[in-house]
Amino acid sequence: MDLAWYALLGLFFASYLVLAGYDYGVGLLLARGGAPAGRRAALTALGPFFLGNEVWLVAAVGILFGAFPVLEGELLAGCYPAVAGALVGVVLVTAGVQLRSRPGDERVRARWDRVIVVGSALAALGWGVVLAALLQGVPRQADGHVAGVSHLATPFAATAGLTMVALVAVHGATFLTLRLPADAADAAGRAARRLVPVALCAVVVATVVGVLSSRVRDAVGRPAVAVLLPVLLVVALLAARAALARRRPGWALIATGAAMALPVALVGAALWPYVLVSTTDPGASLTVADAAASTPTLRLLGWVALPLLPALLGFQAMCWWVFRGRTDGRAPVYW
């Protein structure tokens, strides 16, 4: 039962990165400036999906709290600056996107757009660092607490954070290629194709830095998986580039989406059966089974959540289906 809940936690967090990832990508791309109409068109492309995307984060943390309470406390408090940074980013993006068009003045809107850019970068950077922190292990003591926050400041965490920013930018540009009206989509497609090599470099650099880091080598229990998944990540990015070149933005978005989800799978699979590996005391490493809530709690959550899962996915799918296709002159404009 622990494994099922761990997989569900991974599914929700990966879905968050895939779905909100393009929100942040579109947000980052607002940094290019351009005409007010163009920036608004990008946000209109996010339109109805925006609110339904960040709920995956809230649900993932809900599962984390309900099903893995020990992990929740130690992970969030132990990676305090990274989590808080990501959180500030999430708050800035959610407020920025929803409020930027409420004032009529274009200068005020441009200021809000800068807020969205900063928020998007912070969110991507923060989650990248949190995933890296898991992969490189944390100084968890025998008393069960993670000591200090300086363990976050490593070259691997920095490169992983920047990699996430690059991945998010590619993903956002690909999303715009799929959603914007045909005449605007070409420019987005060109931007996406130019960003793919940047993301590829970032992935390769982060992988090399990770392999060279003794902390990562010690923490990873399954090196084969830890090497295979970055290779898949590179393949996904190359596939996205090929699909963009052939004007298949749907396939390209699936590929960049896979690239957003793979880091979560990497962390989960490479550390298994551990979830928090201690760098200071091997006995203090936390396994998934130890982190899980006791059986009655998991059983209760199973009875409540599992019958509901089809409804959650169904209503999300309804949203994607109803608002599928490119935005056009008839698309409702609100953000």
Partner: protein
Amino acid sequence: MDTLLLARLQFATTTSIHFLFVVVTLGLVTLLVGMQTAWVLTGNAKWERLTRFWGQLYVINYVLGIATGIVMEFQFGLNWSGLSRYVGNVFGAPLAIETLVAFFLESTFLGMWIFGWHRLRKGVHLALLWGVALTAYASAFWIMVANSWLQHPVGYEVRDGIAHLTDFGALLTNPSLGMAFGHVVSAALLVGGMLMAAVSAWHLIRRTPDFALFRTSLRIGLVTAALAITMVQGFGFAQFGPVGEVQPTKFGQGPEAQAVIADWTTRFGPGDYTPPVLASVGLGFMILIGFTLGCVWLLLPLLYRDWIIRLRFPLWLILLAVPLPFIAVILGWIAREVGRQPWVAYGLLPTGQAVSPVGTPVMLASLIGFSLLLGTLAVTNWVLLARHAGRGAADPALGRPPAAPGEPAHPEPALA
């Protein structure tokens, strides 16, 4: 400064800001459901315009509800890791259920509702708003289940120093839950009703063009506020019995409180087990405000032949009274939460044991950073709300037909 104080200050700040927005969300969505249902049933365009105007204010207000809510959720892990470590098996369950059963769907529905105008069939569009409202109430319910467990832990047993769930049903029949849930929900209705009446009053005072529209929403707001204040008072006083029984130290120093404190002293060692005086002072002021707002009933007869509008001074009274319910909900919340001290889970887990073992600089930076961020966003949001409320119902961005000439993004004068 110790991290405990900083963590508590941060929790108080975030929760207070969160609460100011979620009561409006919960109150307004209820009234919106009524308005949109009336529109779909009667086809009268007045109801569509009311839904768009109040819906726009609702959606602006919702933004800060989400933003502060996300911070709230993470704060448990960031600042209160002891809470998840010792009682997470029980306390985490209702919170997890809230995110999955309620919030996940609420926000998904709201996204479709905002962008579904003129695109979805009217019935489907209305059903989405009903979905938003029902999940909002479900959300409030599960949050209150979680909070009530902290007020009065039930349905658990302690093994190896950690609480394990034994009886989930006990969480739902917690004596600290029922009346409190009714109290909070009717307070939200009161806030929503008062806000609606006050904004309408402002337009009627200024004699803005939409007389008929704001006359209607003034009446809806006032009647809602009157019914809600009575429920608020009823549920509020009904709480004293059960809460006094399960939390003897909350309101008094009687023999029961002394007995409980003696028991704690033997089990947890000597300490100050009386809650800060702030809790009961706030409670007193809240009750005063509650009685003052009861006077809304005196205004209802003036709805006859629009005397309330013709006399004008009742409109000013409504306008000036609008901060009162907001102050009251914050004081009520302080009474409930500060009255629980020095426990995070009453009689089970001392607050000091629940705080995360992070350094003071980190906690201080977090407190200052998040308070400034959320405070600034809250003020910005209120300014935007006030501007949109003042602008009137001529052409809200929400539900604007796509074919209409774009919004006045570049208000260029025809003849400069």
